[in-house]
Symmetry: D4
């Protein structure tokens, strides 16, 4: 409960405008206002200019459509939908236009959609998303689109794996001037360490499940990144492009 | 090699002030100038106001003393030494004063020393270091001292584990106004998720090896943090307080 | 063998009413009467008012139907069938009505059926089943239906994951007054620790395989729950909603 | 904050006995009263007749002494100290008598101490603590003493491992009449399954790290117990006798 | 090379009947006769009355048919085919009769076939195959049929899992009089320990992948069996019914 | 309880020579007679000529001495003590001679002692104990001494690891004529597969924790042996020489 | 940048033939020439006579065709395509002939294709590819074809698993005279150790995922090979036949 | 048995100079000559100019001295002793000089000794040993000294970890011209991939156990290296510097 609301209730009690039982009830009925963060929970994202996010994996197409329409009604300008299969996406896109005239951009590689207008970049600098190989693109694009939908300028460095170092070194300028870097790699995950050695900004490492044999579903890249010999690296879950994009946006926030 | 230095060498060659072989030598002797980022490697930390860091674990006390004295000679104002055992610390501290008049603050819990003056906070906001229990303090203090040595204002929330939620909730103000939060926890590592649900800044999670039984040396907290249901969490290696403090400083940097 | 039966046999031997060979045979032929628990095995569940349980996963629809009909003939009022796929359920339900006039409630989310009348709650208090997210519902509903079929009043708290703490805290009353709580969560499994910190009754934690990346099929939630920093938590197998519901019923039993 | 306290503050505000700022302050200064469970946190254990518990592992002997003395001053009748090494125990015991006339029972096998009077059993029934072998006694006694210190009647079945089934079966009476059973076993951990098949009360399984080879520090017993083919078993962490004793006490509570 | 053959060659050399080069060649060309076990490799199984075994999993139906026909031509009386899918089995069975008048018994549960006549039991005693539940039958029947095809009398104890001990104890006579026991169980795999505590013959334990959650594909039963607290247990690979049946036959061999 | 003893009690009851209460007591005092196998538990080993075994690891020297003396009083001719540290062994050996005139052979490599006379070999054939390297000798000698103490003729093949195949092949005769083979190996554990390919008797494989790096305390040898491509191999726990020797003795038993 | 080029630029600057800005630009614009290996990256394979390699797994048939045609235009004589599914292979083969008259050999077992002429063997000696069983052939043939496409003479030893040692020993000549040996095996992976004990050339071990039960997708063979007791063994990833063939070719290179 | 020796025996038999029984005996007494590789086992190393190797870890100082003296008597010029603790080394060195006038070079970091003269480099090219950090030196020096003792020219690149890429790139010349490269690294083990991307010779990767947290004793570097995205990398066991040096020598062998 906001301090000002609490004071108002107390004033009304003092002034006899509010009975004890009613005062008790109002305090009791707003259980999370009591600890002061519920409003933030509802409002902070819009306040920050952040898009709303729908995690599409476990939801039916009807649920996704319904939530999206309700958000749009509530005035959300940009809605990010992650992990939505192509069949669902086609159906949702059609009905968004028909029912509410909403445009929907969908990228089938990361299975990510953006509904409404892409926000203008408002962050402090640029976010570089570097990936080891083309097979990491489902993850790296999820990260990139997430960052863009949350109002960031994103630079993509594709296929800059460490087995051909010159590909990475030819992008030293972008790396040196980034505000945050997301390093996406499978297999041995060395990309994060090499980039963190070159850059002087925070590096968020995303291990991918790309690989075979003793890759163990991304475990090898995950352990590699956690054990990076370079300072300034932190790690998100395997294949969690969204998580990396979201945290990069928090870091790059101007406010 | 800085572009300006390269230009100076070329000017001297053009002007006949520098022979070809000497020019070749000067370029060659700075091997990393060849790829353009070496100067950064030498100078970026000082430029950023960052302290220099010595990882003390695998070094003899003589080596630690030697490196510290050399850095001080080179004008480094603040030197952070991590993982230095108390016996070494006592010896190093004595000789730093005797030989160079350098003061050395040493905290035996995280086994961390700071040589020279602690820099004034220069970051964008405050860094909160929250830890689950008193037994996590070796790690949380390593994080806190690292962040302070790198020029940040640090707020410590000790013993705010999730099994007594009120302890954490009584610090909502600090959590809500932080620029970065470092969440340090062992056992089930739930602290990171709960904090990330409350805060709207990046959370860096540090799993600790505190616990017993099926804790497996911190693995349980590590997996827990990687799988956080809250957005905005990234993770560093088990017990890696330094890594978290360092990345928090990168995130909080004003420039 | 019950002491009284043994005494009766000995009396008959003493009195010449029973020959040695017959006495030997009677002792030999009742191998489990000898250890006194066989009758319990057959009768205890009915005595306790507990429903009978059929684990449907490895059985054909014909087998499930046959066992159910036989139980019903034997006078079992409530029969719980777990892990029965929808196709089997439709077939079984039809034939139960046609052949024996038995009604069958089937919930496709946890794939659980209840045949016959749901028993009146007879436990000491209420059982709270709290789950982290809607994707945990297959497991949490298996737990809830199991507890109900075994004669308990169940309160469901859905989607009260720790990343939005206010959702959980708004149910403090139910948590504080429960006799047993079942905490169902995937991903980082922090729910169990947070609830156990709030409640003063036993908490049974059920890790679910919900999650991705380094979730490893529920291992991350399992380890998290085993390492809970809160007292009063015990854990059942991954996705084992039935096991949690069953133990909660044992704990809540009035006798 | 208790509803009655909140009402009293509101009454004072209404009656003009308390100014707005002071009212705000009193509510603000008791941050956890706001969510209504803090008083429980402080008082519930005493209300329940539960002893207070000190986890001795990470504390100095001075800290243990200090906390114990303060608790005794506050009127706590029984104080349980777990994981306290013998050297510390001797020192603490001496000073408790000298300084406060407090008696202290210490068992060096589970390294557990009980300060003050052992409470009268107040639970609903008896708690059976069964262990597979004598080498599991450090853990089983921690469980048993914990349950006793929390006001329960405890029956110990020592060395009833499944490789000699008759040892277990000769205690069928105790098993059949228990209200809760704690099954403590290392190696293959089969004890929990066998007991749960015999009993009709909740079984709390405690895997121990006793064993060698592919035991992996208790992992084999842990997995075995989680995968029990018998219903009614839940599991606590490896070697966590305290956790099992604590939850058994919660289950056996009369209220 | 058999000693007698070697002597014959030397005799021929001594007698001038064999030139040096030809002698060198003969020794050289029979590399494995040189170490004396090749004949055994070809003949020992027939000598022992053992059936020949075809591992069907990685072979086409044509390959299986071809090998079987060739073995039959060579006079093999009983041919065991393991892991042959039902479709292949139907095709192979038809053609064996049409082409060679060979009868083929096929059991679809363990996917095992026996071609030709089942041998008369020739072992020293009986082999008991005990399994924990009906879902372990694919594995237990593979073991039983293997042992029978290799000339043993087999007693099957189905569904004698430790959660209902009386089921097992009612078969004490068979257990006490067995020459070898194969204990097949999934989940917690406790069956092997309990049986080994009752019996005084070798117990071969077969963990199965039956179970769910933290069963990890049979790992929990495997570790459980390796860590058995009972003496006289050895273990084969997960689901390896054939391996257990084969070794049991070697143990039970009369010669 | 032996059937004959039971009959005797019943006869005495019939004849009035034994009162009901006394009869009840005698049956009751032998609790395991109730399920008919207890006498075996007490007597089978002596009947079989098997030595009694004391697992020395978790026992004090006083306990070991006491149990040994009592067994000797009861007429046990050969007593095997495993895992007894040298200090304890010296003390026990001295007192066994002083107090009871008992000789005690102690081998410090496997830390195994044999008290009393070594029994004459009574098994069906010889047991071969083959080990990969001299560093496996602690385990292989535990196996060999166990088998000898249980009445078997043992042939030791030391240092016959597969990296020098000729060492193994020079012992083909012993391998071909063994009744059971125990294959002890660390590192890659290939010895079991190679021997099982040469022999036609059961092979019991013992993985040892000898090795380094990714050996993981014997896990590499354990997995290797479980996955043997040769038929006729079963496996005991890591370093469990006793378990292998014991099962080999069961297999080789003449009766 | 090559030293000679750098000198030429400096000479031109000295001589006034090159302005400062242009000199700066030329150095800047060739970022990877600066470190001197880019040309190698482009040319070394052709220089070495090595075929070019396309990893087919993650590519569409159109992409594979396009890259192949472009390489052929560039004068590459032999192109190796690994992990190309049969459907893609048929389509690609057809169009290679139609569009460019290129022949394409495709082996469906390892799913490997070779486009163009197979090079004449140019290595120093022969490469032996030995595999444990026919089910390892997908991997062993990938290794063999890779080595052949890179200009080596390859000798295949199929089905020489250690459970029938004579099969391996009958090929001692090939093993003794090889320049490199690739040992491919699943299950317990013992083949590598046995071969390395026999040979005196480098052995590259390839664990395969062939096996079942506790094979864990090739982990058992992988650990086995890493822990080989024989010197001279190194290991590549599970099922990585290409990697082994490629390194064998590097080792056997004449230059 | 060497072909020439075999021929000599046959000649003597033919000529009547050797009786049949004696001939049989001579063949029998040299059991491994039977399979033709034993001579190689004894002689190949000297033939190749390779030093003999003693693995010092499990041996007493007396054993090490004895074996060394015997080898020296047999004419071995260079003897490599690995894993010999400093105390043993001092004692052995003293006595080697006193008893046999043998010089012994000992390096306490890798705990490796070389007795006798270091051989002249006889390999085809140079072997580069590159290590990530100074804490990897125990392993990298074991590799380097092994390669030198086996007759190779070794170039050491110390502390060239990927977090400071310029350190590595300044040694491009050595990397480009090596015949074999050994890449030694702990933590994330990325060094192997980066080097293999730069070099065109075989790279042998040695993971070290250097690191902390989720390093798991070298597992993270091991998995990283096995999953290298660069071609031409194979891996030896964790910390196995000797194994890498030995295989590098085999690869570099001139013959």
């Amino acid at each position: 409960m906001e301090q000002s609301e609490m004071r108002r209730i107390l004033e009304q009690v003092r002034d006899g405008a509010l009975g004890l039982d009613d005062a008790m009830l109002r305090i009791r009925e707003a259980p999370y206002t009591e600890i002061g963060y519920a409003s933030i929970d509802n409002h902070r994202q819009i306040r920050q200019g952040f898009a709303e996010v729908i995690y599409g994996a476990g939801k039916t197409k009807e649920q996704i459509l319904g939530i999206t329409l309700k958000m749009a009604e509530n005035g959300v300008k940009t809605i990010l939908i992650t992990r939505m299969a192509p069949e669902k996406a086609a159906w949702v896109r059609d009905l968004l236009i028909k029912k509410a005239g909403l445009t929907c951009y969908y990228d089938p590689v990361p299975q990510t959609a953006i509904v409404g207008e892409m926000p203008e970049p408002s962050g402090r600098g640029s976010i570089v998303v570097a990936s080891g190989g083309t097979s990491d693109m489902a993850v790296s694009e999820e990260a990139a689109l997430t960052a863009e939908a949350l109002g960031n300028h994103v630079i993509r460095l594709v296929d800059v794996g460490v087995s051909g170092l010159h590909r990475l070194l030819s992008h030293l300028d972008e790396i040196m001037s980034a505000r945050v870097i997301i390093a996406v790699a499978g297999m041995e995950g060395a990309l994060a360490s090499v980039i963190a050695g070159l850059a002087d900004c925070p590096v968020i490492a995303v291990p991918t499940s790309v690989g075979y044999g003793a890759n163990f579903g991304g475990l090898s890249a995950l352990l590699s990144m956690l054990n990076s010999c370079a300072s300034g690296v932190s790690v998100v879950n395997i294949d969690n492009g969204f998580g990396a994009g979201y945290q990069a946006a928090l870091i790059n926030r101007a406010v």
